[in-house]
Symmetry: C2
């Protein structure tokens, strides 16, 4: 993978940063955040402005360009990838390392006195604006909103914003109708004494209306906003999608409805002016609820005294706790996903070992092919990380022709992949060796497995936040002087985004909401040796009530149930490093894989994959 | 312990809340925080305003009185104590429980429209003011500073502010001279481009000048502020303490000094006007550094544009990393402290078992007596928690005649105690049974011990924050449905406050500074059964470099070394619940106690205590 040459682009950007056509006064620095106007993690091609200007296309990163410098902040998952994709015009700022300056500190250190720093107010979240503006102000600089996006002005072949058809989801998938979701939302609004709620996150709009789309690759969402009043519902959405009879019926657009459930459909682009009108019509004590991560532009539309900002919206919190229909859907999706992976791994063993003709890309494509054979398959849930040998150490690697390696019997293979099914979202990582792993590789794998089990089998009282479990995943690695530079888990949507809040298992977060039964997160510790290999073991797990001897004085307790049921390669395990309890966990897990996935493989007539499953789930034997 | 009757006092307070003599406009609520003007945790009697108005005298708590209500917020350590000490006028708000409202939310729920909420601006930290003011403002209320403290106006017999002689500490104790500390501070100030630093915390003033005092019980500090400029040093302190020739020589007050080390001594009460003068004399870009926990009054003295606020001051951070002289002093102090406790426990065994005449107060006094026999003993480092049976479940219990129980062979005894020696500060908890503990008591004790060991033996990479280790202490308890409602550890000063920042081991904190070699914290998990018993095992531990097999790619790693060397009662341990590694930890720890403390007992000719130590440090035998 060769870096993108950005000399000419940066020159153009620096010109528009001074052009009176776009800025009232020249800006000495311009910030290019990762997200779109909805603060999405995964974005449409037309929103990949940071990748356009820098070449770095990982899912997280912020670029800042000044007259002299161009710098990119990203986290441990992307240190290698960003270094590979960016040319010498760019300085990589490794977030999470002690000596890396924050964006604010760096700006203050490089800017001339009384500088202006520009940013697109629709792209920067209000909370980031606030922090950045404050830090700059206290150093004598100014953060200024630049209405026209400056990257767009130099991006001559920028693709169009997508506007694809919608999918309606009925009660058997969602468990709750959109009307009941509106009722529940309004009751939360009444509790907090707010009159309006602005839905800005794409997955929240999709969840609220039980609709899905495909405007953003991997995320079944569509570009829209919604503004919910106590008696009104406004949906801001473009295109002829609202002409689809199925959508019209689903939203009851043509029915005679109680007025408070009548949906008013407005153009996507009118959100700002409509919201400004709402803001102007407010009386004292009338509040508007927004996420504190909503864009600065929308937040500013509501006068400060009328804003009610929270880090997590009531929709985000309700969405995280899956109901029985959603949980059952997630179970079904994970069973189908496991069938596809058993097929894949069986196929890989047959192809890699004797022939050596399978590349990372071929393996990824084959995984997608097997998944697409399963019922209700929609698309992948993220770009498949199919990586062998040193590529495995690039944490969010995606194989491209320039980097594509051939799987062999000499290297570790790491596959992190998942899919969107109409009944659920999957995300699973398995690490395997098709030949004979070294003692060191087995040692590292076994520490990662111990960490995975420590989280998966953890019992904790009701009210515990997920970040408090993160160190459990690291303890075995730490004991030997190993670690990994990413969080241990993230929330997973139900036929929605594969990463969602407000819960997770990460040392980086403190403000996560406590785990509760019905929440779904990933458990994915890893270990990465730059230039050699990567190891990660990931299951999606459901938070369930636990039974304990003393039950926390009736406070109750929780634990996890793996939804992912794919064998963990026993060849990679050094059984002597496992405790008896850990060994039993692996054997019980494999027993369940054999029973549940075995039955489905049988039902689908996939006999060869079934044989593979049975071989791979043989119990571990531990020396006494 | 009977509750304080507060009906009359609350009536008086509600009168002054409306009196034009003290408030410009009536205040509908008045906040009485815990602290003093230095945001100290331990306070002088004249500052115990919250205890005066409510009766609740625990170390943490905030009272709010409105025209109709009186409410007290405190944390899990004090739920029982507060409930015992307060009468029916008061509502206890249990912080940390899910349904407990925040002070702001509660105020908003009970106040009439457009209320004024008063608070003493010298007592409320600026960060709390800001949060509270914002929440109240957004609900249409106002937080207002009330210059005269309203509690003081009704507290007719309020004691005088203490003003006791100072102790000077030479280099053999401190390792670094006050001049070198000023030089280091100024270099940190230059790094951040600030011209002034305001020292507001009492332990920071004491540490900076290598002075100690006794104005506050248990904390060797004195009432003072300091303002450090790049060329000036101002010390705000009252009384004739500066007349002491030893102090004058220590501070070189009468020497011909470079002007930048000349200390200007000013009255304690002049800090506000002097700081206002500093604030008025500032030019643009000239900044004043304050803790964001400094009082609202002092923070407001500096115009907002000139303030540089940080959660931890450079003094706080420098003070936390003990140098070789301080570490050696802490080791010596802990050896002496262990000698005293061996004497105590030996004495208790002789007295409790056959005679049954020892009460909690007698035991606490005896502990102090043995400690006071040790070299350089100054005072206790906190009120001794000497508690037997159900009193042990009151986490920060202090025996008083009304609650005083007699130690017996039927109940668990918990002793949490410590002392100030001129060379260091100690804090140790041991839990013991003088008869035969039940299987359940042993089970709980052993889980707590497993948690204690999990933290003490933890290995973690450089840069890890202490709060990430908190769950290690709970894992064994959680597995059985048990937990404790306090953090696992706090920073410990070196002949300074027994609780200090910026590090600790607590799930409640996220903003702690990463642990580094030389920091000293406590490791004190517990388990409490209301109405029955309390268990806690606490050592003070030093952060030291660790050796690991792979050394975190040269990032380096850390672990803990116990400074506390007092036997852990093996009678309370269910050996079958320990792993081999845990069993070895206990045996190695006891071996070290026997060697180090045994030698000192021998040297001091304390032969009977030595025999006790040898008996109590017999190795555990674990069934294979």
């Amino acid at each position: 993978m060769s870096p993108k040459i950005t000399t000419e682009l940066l020159k153009q950007l620096r010109q528009v940063m001074k052009s009176p056509k776009y800025v009232q006064e020249p800006v000495q620095a311009y910030i290019v955040p990762s997200g779109d106007a909805h603060q999405s993690e995964y974005i449409a091609p037309c929103d990949c402005r940071r990748a356009f200007i820098s070449g770095f296309d990982g899912s997280a990163g912020t670029a800042i360009v000044t007259e002299q410098h161009a710098a990119m902040w990203t986290d441990g998952r992307y240190f290698l990838q960003a270094a590979h994709q960016m040319d010498n015009n760019w300085t990589l700022m490794k977030m999470g390392l002690k000596d890396t300056p924050t964006q604010e500190d760096w700006l203050v250190s490089v800017l001339p006195e009384a500088s202006k720093v520009g940013v697109d107010p629709f792209i920067i979240p209000a909370d980031q604006w606030k922090r950045m503006a404050k830090a700059l102000r206290s150093a004598g600089h100014d953060l200024v909103p630049v209405k026209e996006n400056l990257i767009d002005t130099i991006w001559t072949d920028c693709p169009q914003r997508p506007c694809k058809p919608l999918i309606t989801l009925n009660l058997s998938y969602t468990g709750v109708s959109w009307r009941d979701k509106i009722v529940a939302l309004r009751s939360k609004m009444a509790e907090r004494k707010v009159l309006w709620f602005v839905v800005t996150a794409l997955d929240e709009v999709a969840w609220l209306f039980n609709l899905r789309g495909s405007d953003v690759e991997y995320n079944p969402v569509f570009f829209a906003y919604a503004v919910i009043g106590m008696n009104t519902i406004r949906l801001f959405i473009d295109g002829d999608r609202m002409m689809d009879p199925a959508v019209r019926e689903h939203l009851q657009l043509d029915s005679t409805l109680e007025p408070e459930f009548k949906i008013q459909v407005l153009p996507y682009g009118s959100i700002l002016s409509e919201l400004q009108a709402v803001g102007e019509g407010l009386s004292p004590k009338e509040k508007v609820w927004l996420s504190d991560k909503a864009s600065y532009a929308l937040t500013e539309a509501i006068p400060k005294a009328y804003r009610y900002l929270t880090p997590y919206t009531p929709i985000c919190i309700a969405k995280a706790v899956k109901n029985a229909s959603e949980t059952e859907g997630m179970r079904r999706a994970h069973i189908k996903d496991a069938v596809a992976l058993c097929e894949l791994f069986n196929w890989l063993e047959k192809e890699v070992v004797p022939k050596g003709t399978v590349t990372e890309i071929i393996a990824a494509d084959k995984a997608e092919e097997f998944r697409s054979q399963q019922k209700d398959f929609v698309e992948l849930s993220f770009a498949t990380i199919s990586s062998t040998g040193p590529n495995g150490a690039i944490i969010h690697y995606k194989p491209v022709p320039e980097t594509n390696r051939t799987l062999s019997v000499n290297e570790i293979y790491l596959l992190d992949s998942g899919a969107q099914y109409k009944d659920g979202t999957t995300d699973v990582t398995r690490t395997m060796h098709f030949g004979t792993p070294s003692a060191y590789e087995k040692e590292c794998f076994t520490y990662v497995l111990k960490g995975h089990i420590a989280v998966s089998a953890a019992i904790f009282p009701n009210g515990t936040k997920g970040h408090l479990l993160d160190s459990f995943a690291r303890s075995a690695l730490w004991d030997c002087g190993l670690d990994y530079l990413h969080g241990t888990g993230h929330g997973v949507g139900s036929f929605l985004n594969v990463h969602e809040g407000p819960c997770g298992i990460s040392y980086k977060t403190f403000a996560d909401e406590p785990l509760e039964a019905g929440m779904i997160v990933s458990d994915e510790p890893g270990y990465y040796e730059d230039g050699s290999f990567g190891i990660r073991i990931e299951n999606v797990v459901l938070v369930i009530p636990a039974e304990t001897k003393y039950n926390f004085k009736n406070r109750g307790s929780l634990t996890f149930e793996p939804l992912t049921l794919v064998p963990i390669q026993t060849k990679m395990i050094d059984v002597n490093l496992l405790t008896e309890k850990e060994c039993n966990w692996v054997n019980n897990y494999h027993q369940k894989c054999r029973e549940v996935i075995g039955a489905e493989l049988e039902r689908q007539g996939r006999h060869e994959a079934l044989q593979w499953l049975i071989r791979e789930t043989e119990p571990l034997l531990r020396a006494q």
